[in-house]
């Protein structure tokens, strides 16, 4: 695995909000084709980390190389080009309330893949809806969907533009165990089908066990532990053990 090329390389990343330092000199790599789970308690800066990767938050220091381009110092246009290759699943789903499911799916597609014909757009929408198992939801409004359905549609909206990197922000938070397992299975399916590399931010250990090739645990803004999920399972560290109870 270590011979694989890295698609994201973070060096000494730091980020604070006011006097509170959330990320303290974090360094990590995401290898091509791997699922990297980032574990940690709430408030340890997991979501801040991936928001810095896509440029939603500006880091205070360090470098973030995505496909060998440092996103902390590139132009807005270059950042836009990088973002076209990244899919971001938000914790809340972030579906556009005023649009139907179909319009939600069309929105990124028409803006990122401008050369597609109407037929191709329709085919692509049907393909991703079938992928997430919600072909019947096409004309529904987000308010008519359950929490799990919203997550699935949000996932469909993310993969519709064929991203090379997927960033999942707490994909199973607020879902029942059965739906969480379905989302975890979907994450694996997407990795296999679209050959994506993913960072999965979570504190759901079942999700990490099911999806992660490698795990990083954050604590107090620093990388606390790194390794395979099996190593974490065997660990005697009280903090790590607390996640497996």
């Amino acid at each position: 695995m270590t011979n694989r090329k890295s698609v994201i390389e973070i060096e000494n990343l730091s980020k604070s909000f006011g006097n509170q330092m959330v990320l303290k000199n974090i360094s990590l790599k995401l290898l091509n084709g791997e699922n990297l789970a980032v574990l940690g308690k709430s408030g340890t800066g997991k979501s801040v980390l991936i928001k810095c990767i896509v440029g939603l938050l500006k880091s205070d220091g360090g470098t973030i190389n995505v496909f060998e381009k440092n996103v902390t110092s590139i132009s807005r246009q270059e950042l836009g080009e990088i973002r076209m290759k990244i899919g971001f699943l938000f914790q809340s789903g972030a579906l556009y309330d005023s649009m139907t499911v179909k319009q939600n799916l069309e929105f990124p597609l028409r803006r990122i893949k401008r050369d597609l014909s109407e037929i191709e757009i329709k085919e692509k929408i049907n393909e991703v809806l079938e992928q997430v198992g919600l072909a019947e939801a096409l004309d529904k409004m987000p308010s008519q969907l359950s929490g799990g359905m919203r997550k699935r549609i949000s996932l469909a909206r993310t993969i519709i533009v064929d991203p090379m990197i997927m960033l999942y922000d707490e994909p199973t938070t607020g879902l029942d165990p059965a739906t969480s397992d379905e989302i975890s299975t979907l994450i694996n399916d997407i990795q296999k089908r679209y050959k994506t590399s993913s960072i999965i931010i979570t504190h759901d250990i079942r999700c990490a066990q099911k999806t992660a090739d490698r795990v990083i645990m954050l604590n107090d803004g620093t990388v606390y532990q790194e390794g395979k999920i099996e190593d974490f399972e065997k660990s005697a560290d009280p903090l790590i053990k607390s996640f497996f109870i």
Partner: protein
């Protein structure tokens, strides 16, 4: 005899003085922070306006969203503006008639109502209603989009939210609010005619001719110009407050509320400035 010890007498005094100095310093720091925050807010607003200008004249203007916003602002506010405009003219006529009758000047009523509606009451009252309906709507809509990460989602899918959300709304408000104001003026005159007929009998043709005998182009032009500024201010304030809303759900209410309060206040202040400028010309 007790020994005199100045140090013992001075210690409590020094302690009190230190406490007072510390309190003053804390207050000074708090004031400095308040001033600094206020200046940062002002700078933020200017940068926001500059970005609106920049995005308006950059490529790929969102025409579809602009026309949709025009429809939302214009068509959907029409019933409210119709009722307000008509009542404005009706009430103004009923209230003014007895005073004018005392001076034997009832024939001046249509002209007086038309001039006051076109120059002042129409623009200001309609703008205040628009600040309430349109400004709060923009603040709440963009605020809830910010809270539910929809604006972030737009940004990561390579769509510029300023271009897609803010520019069409601000431009639509700038275009539609002056049109709504002119429409309110027209309905105000219609309402005034209805009011004049409660205690009198005047045909609409005669009333209309008498009304516009006293209205000049110089009455229309400043009113239209200030209406354009009212529209722009309502759009900018609504979008700014919503776009920069905080992260909690409470922020949506705060954004909507402050969009109305600041929007209305700015309309009144701008009207005062416009009146001063018109008076000088």
């Amino acid at each position: 005899m007790k020994k005199f010890s100045p140090a013992i007498k001075l210690t409590p005094l020094l302690r009190d003085a230190t406490k007072v100095t510390l309190k003053i310093s804390e207050k000074a720091i708090a004031k400095k922070e308040q001033v600094s925050n206020f200046m940062t807010d002002i700078a933020d607003v200017f940068l926001f306006i500059l970005r609106i200008f920049k995005e308006t004249f950059s490529r790929n203007f969102e025409f579809r969203e602009f026309f949709y916003q025009c429809y939302k602002i214009g068509y959907k506010t029409l019933p409210l503006i119709s009722i307000t405009g008509a009542i404005m003219g009706l009430v103004l006529t009923i209230q003014s008639r007895p005073t004018l009758a005392n001076f034997g000047a009832v024939s001046l009523l249509p002209g007086m109502v038309a001039v006051s509606l076109i120059r002042e009451m129409g623009p200001v009252i309609t703008a205040l209603i628009c600040a309430g309906k349109i400004g709060s709507g923009m603040g709440a809509e963009l605020g809830s989009m910010r809270v539910t990460e929809q604006i972030d989602a737009m940004e990561v899918s390579s769509t510029n939210p300023m271009k897609f959300l803010v520019v069409p709304r601000v431009l639509a408000a700038t275009v539609m609010i002056p049109i709504l104001i002119l429409y309110a003026d027209a309905l105000g005159i219609l309402g005034s005619w209805a009011g004049a007929n409660i205690k009198g009998d005047v045909t609409f043709g005669l009333f209309f001719r008498q009304a516009f005998r006293y209205v000049d182009f110089v009455d229309f032009l400043p009113a239209v110009i200030k209406s354009v500024f009212f529209g722009a201010v309502i759009g900018i304030v609504g979008c700014y407050k919503g776009y920069n809303a905080g992260r909690g759900t409470e922020s949506v209410g705060v954004a909507a509320n402050s969009a109305v309060v600041i929007g209305s206040l700015l309309v009144i202040i701008m009207d005062m400035i416009a009146v001063q400028i018109t008076d000088m010309l």
